[in-house]
Symmetry: C2
């Protein structure tokens, strides 16, 4: 299927969702042990990273991060057991959803234009755009 893949967002109603951005951030915090380093690794401001974590903590009953009080330079950040479970569940949902829809994803991927022809297509007009009622 080349680069075709399923991106998932779990929607919990108004203003509450869990998608790839938050999951990648949690994974980066798990790797780096710090919100600011994780943000940097993802090209995200500290403020942005913090707001995403804040969103998650408002969303769920348990916090996703635990403060780690540390030595002279202060503590870092660490995923809670719940935070780790959330990442695991999301990644498992991705794998299961992709496996379950493989055949249809392949069918859609087979209808794609080759990516290379995109810039040449830029000069073309949409058939629907010529005349007719809007």
């Amino acid at each position: 299927m080349g680069t075709t893949k399923l991106m998932l967002r779990v929607d919990f109603g108004p203003n509450r969702a869990l998608g790839p951005g938050k999951i990648r951030l949690l994974e980066a915090i798990d790797r780096t042990g710090s919100i600011s380093q994780a943000g940097r690794a993802l090209g995200m401001s500290y403020r942005r990273a913090w707001l995403l974590i804040d969103d998650l903590n408002r969303c769920f009953r348990e916090p996703v991060l635990a403060a780690q009080p540390g030595g002279a330079r202060g503590g870092g950040a660490e995923l809670t057991a719940f935070g780790r479970k959330l990442v695991r569940d999301y990644r498992a949902i991705e794998i299961e959803a992709t496996a379950a829809t493989q055949t249809r994803l392949r069918a859609i991927a087979a209808s794609l234009r080759p990516a290379r022809s995109l810039s040449a297509d830029k000069v073309n007009r949409l058939p629907i755009a010529r005349g007719g009622k809007r």
Copy 2:
């Protein structure tokens, strides 16, 4: 699971994706027979609707809409067989992916705070925000 649901985007690589917005637009065009009416029904400008359709037509080898040359007021817009198949495939992917991940979605939904407590939570601070290294 209350309002918890899976939102899907099929990613085809850089700048090419198929998600709920484009699918809803195609469905509205199928219902109304016009891009502008469909856009209005979804609170979307004609320009925005047109750009989404243009995106789809650049993305796939076959067009998703056929111009319908019509009487005195001009023609409307109609989904092609390919456009209809795309909508059907996307909606089927949604159903299959949701069915395959039901158990994990339920587990995540069970960890949510009740939606009502959200505004009260607004006054709380994140545990991680107090002191510590950023």
